[in-house]
Symmetry: C2
Subunit: 416 residues, 2 copies
């Protein structure tokens, strides 16, 4: 793909950038992990069971195992006598055995009667007061999963019930997509790390903690955070020596004479995109080093860094790890309570707050939008490049951060 | 609260059980953690900033810092000359200084002109081709957060943007609600741990890996997994010596002569509930040890164990950790594509699958429902105790496991 020159009039379209990302971010190879490490990971291959789950017919309740055909006609007016057997691999006719839920059903038995359906007469005798049908309170061998059947398919993100089912099938290791290894390089000008003294005219770094949190959320493995001199040589050297799957370079992404990340990436491999028609984040770029490491140039301003990450770098990390490319937020149709303004030709991310149920308004005007706007938002709306924004009362798709902390009507409690 | 006797006719109502849980599970005390550990944790106290964020007025773009009043009347037909100054703490009238995004704005300047709004004449002279308004491309000191203002309030579950904002305010530690420490005790009969040889008539344990995954999902800290002899003495001994916030006892929860967990808990403290009008999971129980540890008796059958955890133990762990008590799934209104049957007097959890957009049907009949039903479901419906279930075509509230893996219409991609 050709280098996209970074001029305001030649910024890459978001759709083209997403296309470039998707063409270069197939899921990574498989690795085996133990079941204890597998929750939340993405299966690389189908997992089948070599055993029946459960392995034998078993009662789901404590009760009397018996032959259902022996119970025909039993009632309170016609109690049928049964002989209680202590231990029996094979249950003779007209006999019953007390069984615990989950134990193996004795051979010959095909149903379980509840304690209240029988009367204990003592001396190993009992009477059945009710007929039971074949299969009553029995869980059949293989009813959870028959030998040879699939327990979960490739691409599935494992949740707790999967873990339980895999464990029941005696599977202790599963093949999952390897987590992408991510390096973060910081080139901030007049930026100090947290906890260090603040030089005059400097600010405390927000991008480091921000990116670490985002990478973890998307299933990436942050293997290094490093401060790099703001020179082409220093940045190029770091990029050329990188053994990660993804490198994020925060700061120095712009087109100015003191912004060297794009030149460094071009010299270290290929600069595929520099400048995107998206706001915040129009100076971001991306490409690949000679060794193939996917490299993202993110603005140093925390708000712009966040959104460049969300739209582009995060998508890449999620795809490499086998997750859905989609933004990791659910979406919901809302109505604009106030107008949302956007520039034609720019895809704009607009942090919004819920205003009553089903309506949203922008958090601030764009000019004021730093990282605080994202922190105070309940979610965001993406205004496409062809739109000037939305009038009050327009239906829009909102990406919701967290239902529980927003003003959305909550219905997620146990509502019996 | 009085002990609720465990008979079918005397099972506790779900609403009463939730009431008992909520009365005994206030958020735990605060602990300080570093910002790197804070994502996903719940703030125990409001965090305010002692500095302005940003600390000074600064440009949000690279450009020419200047006085907006000097630009009045500038146009392509009336270029106004400005003197370029290399270094200036104080900007004299009719002068401009090239500034980088994020740097401190020189004193006297109140706006930034974009490079394309000016023409460089060389020799320290440039011409402005457009008037700029005061505040153009300026981020004001304290616009993200003014000194003394709140960055996040108690009870907030911190997400990435919060971490970025806190870092920008030079906050490196925050007070969060301590994670509840959870012990799991297993009393399974004829159950073998994963990877161990399977005795005759035994099954592999699913509850251990299942509960470990659930506890982690809900923010609990699993401090111990231990197999315990299936005797009153052994279980009581473990309960009495427990220093955890929550103990989960898997197996031995029933009313049978070989089920000792309820007796053990009564002797080790107080058995508040034994038997709940909920299915699966009607044998579950709960109470507190003499030292106050919240103790849950969960059925050993994996499906019943899962649902007892989801409805009761999980709620407790989430509440102790300061999270929302609600089930950790979003809910969505759906229509039943097939009828859902339930017993009057029992709250029933019905795993469902999506059938087309907006419709759901039960995964299996209840009789067949093991852990596989939960693994294969897209979510579940809770049928209240007063209902016999739902006819085809009835609106129901579905709790959705994971939109991305279900058949729900997906709208979460970047849709510019």
């Amino acid at each position: 793909m050709a280098v996209i020159v970074h001029k305001a009039s030649h910024r890459a379209r978001v759709a083209d950038v997403l296309g470039w990302i998707d063409a270069h971010s197939a899921p990574l190879e498989a690795q085996e992990v133990t079941l204890a490490q597998a929750a939340g990971r993405v299966l690389a291959d189908r997992v089948t069971t070599s055993v029946d789950v459960p392995p034998f017919d078993r009662p789901v309740v404590d009760g009397f195992a018996l032959r259902s055909e022996d119970t025909i006609g039993a009632s309170a007016y016609n109690p049928l006598p049964f002989r209680l057997i202590e231990s029996a691999d094979h249950l003779p006719p007209a006999s019953a055995k007390w069984v615990h839920a989950g134990a193996r059903l004795p051979h010959g038995a095909d149903a379980v009667a509840l304690p209240e359906q029988a009367e204990n007469k003592g001396d190993g005798a009992c009477c059945l007061l009710e007929a039971v049908i074949a299969g009553a309170f029995i869980e059949r061998a293989g009813s959870d999963a028959a030998r040879g059947s699939s327990l979960a398919t490739a691409g599935r993100r494992l949740r707790s019930a999967d873990i339980g089912l895999l464990a029941a099938a005696n599977i202790s290791q599963v093949p999952v997509v390897r987590q992408p290894r991510v390096r973060c390089l910081f080139t901030g000008r007049d930026v100090a790390e947290a906890g260090t003294p603040l030089p005059a005219d400097a600010v405390h770094d927000a991008t480091g903690p921000l990116l670490a949190s985002l990478v973890a959320r998307d299933g990436g493995l942050l293997i290094e955070r490093r401060w790099v001199d703001r020179t082409v040589t220093a940045i190029r050297g770091e990029l050329a020596s990188s053994r990660a799957d993804v490198v994020l370079v925060a700061g120095s992404s712009g087109p100015g004479p003191d912004d060297h990340a794009a030149v460094a990436l071009r010299e270290a491999g290929k600069l595929a995109v520099h400048g995107v028609a998206v706001r915040p984040g129009e100076t971001c770029g991306m490409g690949r080093t000679a060794s193939g490491t996917l490299t993202f140039l993110l603005p140093g301003a925390p708000g712009a860094c966040l959104w460049s990450y969300e739209l582009f770098a995060g998508r890449t990390i999620r795809r490499l790890g086998g997750r859905s490319a989609a933004l990791p937020f659910r979406s919901r149709k809302m109505i604009t309570a106030r107008k949302i303004v956007s520039e034609i030709g720019m895809t704009e991310v607009c942090p919004v707050q819920c205003i009553g149920d089903g309506a949203v308004g922008p958090v601030t005007s764009y000019a004021e939008m730093g990282i605080a706007a994202a922190a105070h938002a309940d979610g965001f709306v993406i205004v496409p490049e062809g739109s000037e924004g939305y009038r009050q009362g327009t239906p829009v798709l909102m990406y919701v951060y967290d239902e529980a902390s927003s003003n959305l009507a909550m219905e997620s409690d146990v509502k019996p």
